[in-house]
Symmetry: C2
Subunit: 283 residues, 2 copies
């Protein structure tokens, strides 16, 4: 494809990694960060050709990736929208789409929600790396009025990252990630909180000594970054509540089976769980 002029707002792990790959693919990258130090470092690392805290850098770009924290996406788009050319495509990288897509599309009709499902445990420009998005799902959530040529252009760009593109609507995206990303956080955090707050102290102490890889894996995302967990709950509240209620129903069913010693029915559920898990795993 033709080389484009691409703006990246927010030069952290995701914004920086997008810049590294797209720079290398021959696009001209301009980066925006509030910190001049981050801007300098981004140019040094070849994340972007030009970088500045000044949004004016964006006024003739073909495409903008909004890579700020989720709470800043809408305010940022409001700030920059008066400076942009109408042909500029704007996308974001937030992990929840419904509200963001609705508000951003009102501000900027040439907006397409996006969610690259990749990351590491690290943050900031120094954490940016090549090929972060390779073989990872990259969801795009166009809506009815999304210009089709804008979607085609964005699809070509993300194909250059080596991502696996999925096109769906914001609501389906949010329901799916509630189940596979957000509910696991709550399930694991609840395990940690319940043993910590409700087990007698002698049992807690012994449990800490005996805990092994099963406990470690089950609680990995639940014991992760609290800001991330809070953000998910705030921005994907309805879908999370829906999946939580369904989860609680099944948990109650399983509890009843154990209480009533209905072992065949419990074994059926455990067999189904074992059989269903491989469908969620990539090889």
């Amino acid at each position: 494809m033709n080389s484009k002029k691409i703006g990246i707002v927010g030069l952290g792990l995701i914004g920086g990694s997008l810049g590294l790959d797209l720079y290398q693919k021959g696009h001209y990258i301009v980066g925006i960060s509030r910190s001049q130090e981050t801007c300098d470092r981004a140019m040094e690392r070849k994340v972007c050709h030009q970088a500045s805290p000044d949004f004016k850098l964006l006024n003739d770009v073909d495409l903008i990736f909004l890579c700020t924290p989720i709470g800043s996406i809408v305010p940022t788009l409001e700030t920059i929208s008066s400076e942009l050319s109408p042909s500029t495509i704007v996308t974001d990288v937030a992990s929840v789409k419904g509200e963001i897509v609705q508000k951003c599309s009102e501000i900027w009709p040439n907006f397409i929600g996006g969610h690259p499902m990749a990351g590491t445990a690290f943050v900031g420009i120094e954490a940016a790396q090549y090929n972060l998005f390779k073989n990872a799902p990259y969801v795009l959530t166009p809506i009815e009025n999304t210009p089709s040529q804008s979607l085609e252009c964005l699809k070509k760009i993300i194909a250059q990252l080596g991502s696996i593109p999925y096109i769906t609507n914001p609501e389906e995206h949010d329901c799916a990630v509630a189940w596979i990303s957000h509910l696991p956080v709550i399930v694991g955090a609840t395990l940690l909180e319940s043993i910590d707050s409700k087990a007698p102290s002698n049992i807690l102490e012994l449990a800490q000594k005996l805990a092994s890889t099963g406990f470690k894996d089950t609680t990995r995302v639940g014991g992760g970054n609290p800001e991330l967990g809070l953000m998910m709950a705030q921005y994907n509240r309805e879908a999370i509540l829906d999946s939580l209620i369904k989860y609680q129903q099944v948990l109650q069913e399983i509890t009843d089976l154990i209480r009533q010693q209905k072992w065949n029915a419990l074994e059926d559920i455990l067999r189904k769980s074992q059989a269903s898990r491989p469908y969620f795993l990539k090889d």
Copy 2:
């Protein structure tokens, strides 16, 4: 310590791995398996010096490890008890202790419950390996009438495996493993079952495509061997029900916080979870 004559009943992953290490430490090992083929292979692999389906091999051993499936431990001890010398110490390796210890101690006063907390995903004599128990917790659960010199002898033997010994009572053991081993299985299986049975088909399909390492880790033990999950529930029913009820209370609290948008309180719980998890991890 002096070399002992040690019997191992059940030559699978655990029994076989015990044999490999104790053989190498200079003990004389006799193995029992119902399958002559397994007996032959166990001698070939230096799991034991002698092996046979015939329990008579056990009639002059110093110590017996019962490494059969959990449901066979009590019947096996009943069968062999008439042949044993009263000085023979008997131990088992089951992952639940309460009922086993009670019944086995009635049959054989020189019984000490044990639980080596190590394993792999594989089973059978071919899966047996050296150093399986090294640096892993090995719980012993003596009761009031346990002969103290028997406990000392068993402690020395398991020290030779490089295990980390913990002495507690059967009830505390069962409560602790309900929290850290058994509840994680139920929590993960419930996640798999709830998405599989309650998510609409379009969401399930998308979720399967987008699921990543967070979902994979959270469901690893929940999507594991159904026989193991069932066995835990059957043999540790009361402790599991107790931890499940406490888990459900916390899950309801968290659900209410999300519903009522009490974000500060939710963030507090997520912070506590993040802070508590390292206490369960070994480095």
